[in-house]
Symmetry: C2
Subunit: 312 residues, 2 copies
């Protein structure tokens, strides 16, 4: 099974306006809602790809209930929490999109412990666990480490896409694969150089580091027990314009699927599926809503993404 964990999900609210006047009063034309949070987006992409996926994390209040209703087709096993699930507000006008992400509420230790128990219950050898998105305020390195440890302890491969010090905590806990974007990698390691930053996460303990770099594509760096690090670069053959939110989640979905389908070594799988991840990312950019992919574009382009060894 593939289990996606979204510790800090969100009800994504979109305000559609014909015109925005900053510093003034604006009447919103229409309001739309989607189930959000990076792990939820990963699950939605996997569902569109026909994969069976289970969603968990923490959910509370009416916004949480609304998220649950909106997330159709995906098996859901949320851990209830007292605080209402946060919202994100996207202001969409012809002039552009501005996102406001609420921080969310902290999660009681008891709920984290229930989440670990659920992972123990659901996950087995050969399964893939994805931990994606921001963490609730107050989440410690130890909490992230315990979650990653619980999943790897069950024999699962664990993919982590988060940011800041908690990304490094996940690497130190032995995450199979971590996927920061280049901004997150710089923030987590303090290094401008992508390869140097990725090597820090490998030294921390991650099995493989995939760095998404927007239109430039992706870089994968893997530890090699027999020698120096191995590296691959995939770059899209053309630039897709659209909504970049959710592109990284599509890449995580592609990599999680690859890890789930085969027990071959992780570096090998990542090398053979990096083009797939880049193509699915581009297919997410082509759709206006995060968590959706343009399957037609994906099928047309996935064999056309060049991958080369080394950093380019």
């Amino acid at each position: 099974m593939i289990l996606t964990i979204t510790p800090n999900p969100a009800l994504d609210v979109t305000y559609h306006l014909r015109h925005v006047r900053w510093g003034d009063v604006n009447r919103v034309e229409t309001v739309s809602e989607t189930a959000g949070g990076k792990g939820v987006n990963v699950a939605r992409v996997l569902h569109q790809l026909g994969e069976s996926v289970t969603c968990t994390g923490f959910l509370g209040g009416e916004t949480g209930e609304r998220l649950r209703e909106l997330l159709t087709g995906v098996e859901q096993r949320w851990i209830p929490v007292p605080a209402s699930t946060r919202r994100t507000t996207a202001v969409v006008a012809p002039s552009g999109t501005t996102l406001f992400n609420e921080p969310g509420a902290s999660v009681p230790e008891q709920a984290w412990s229930r989440l670990r128990a659920l992972v123990t219950e659901l996950v087995d050898t050969g399964d893939v666990v994805v931990v994606s998105g921001s963490m609730p305020p107050g989440t410690t390195d130890a909490t992230v480490a315990a979650l990653v440890g619980t999943a790897t302890g069950r024999g699962a491969r664990v993919v982590v896409d988060t940011s800041g010090p908690l990304l490094r905590a996940a690497a130190r806990a032995g995450a199979t694969l971590v996927k920061p974007n280049h901004h997150e990698l710089r923030a987590a390691t303090g290094l401008d150089d992508v390869v140097a930053g990725a090597r820090v996460l490998l030294s921390d303990g991650a099995g493989c580091v995939v760095v998404s770099r927007g239109e430039v594509g992706m870089l994968a760096v893997a530890a090699d027990p027999g020698g120096p690090h191995r590296m691959w670069t995939a770059r899209p053959d053309s630039v897709v314009s659209g909504n970049p939110t959710g592109a990284g989640d599509a890449a995580v979905a592609a990599l999680a699927r690859a890890l789930h389908r085969s027990r071959r070594p992780v570096p090998e799988l990542v090398a053979t599926h990096l083009a797939d991840a880049v193509a699915l990312s581009a297919a997410a950019v082509a759709r206006p809503v995060a968590g959706e992919v343009d399957l037609e574009l994906y099928r047309r382009t996935r064999d056309r993404v060049p991958v080369s060894s080394g950093a380019h």
Copy 2:
């Protein structure tokens, strides 16, 4: 009693940010909530002035429940509706404030009829009914007219602060006093000239028109059965900088209190309390949150607002 009716209340959500990047992703630092909607603001100001006030209108969902919890000290008699109460989102950063007002949901005819029944139950001769703010989508002229008619039919004086065609419907239904701002007056009448616009609303049937004009103060125009219209102008002696949202609601609160305290003819009351309305408006501008007034500033300035006959 003073009864304020807020047909389209809102949970006012404020996003506090250190810095806003338009067209980008922003992390909100803190989120705060207040009970909102213009009639709710009027009630909160009256409560701060020590007046007894009852709040009604339509309320639904978890946002509605939250609004009810936040509105402390005010008697509440909301009519429940199926749809969740809307939100407004204010993005507040050192560079300025941008407001996004959700439109809200339409209200079933049955709920309007329950609201009229409540007005009939609560209101008696000498009472004041305030109808304030935007109307739910789909509200017709006839619905507004029936609400105003129900209140005047009970012998109440009715103050209406809304915009567009529904403001004119309220005037035609014989509202005692209507209070548009100069932008709303122009939109409702198509006339740039404030006095000419106010005369349209008097011809429609309003007893008195008070136009708030921001820093310029207020203009009141009243019908005089014995001759031409009578007019008064009040202008603050100094400009208060701050948050203009809620200034008009404070003016409505001052006028509603004046109408409630005395049965003297409306034009006379408005003439003697226009300075009070201007001072309370300025006291609202001095506070960062709509629905609050700086009572100290109000007491210091209310005798220092010059009022003159005629339009200036």
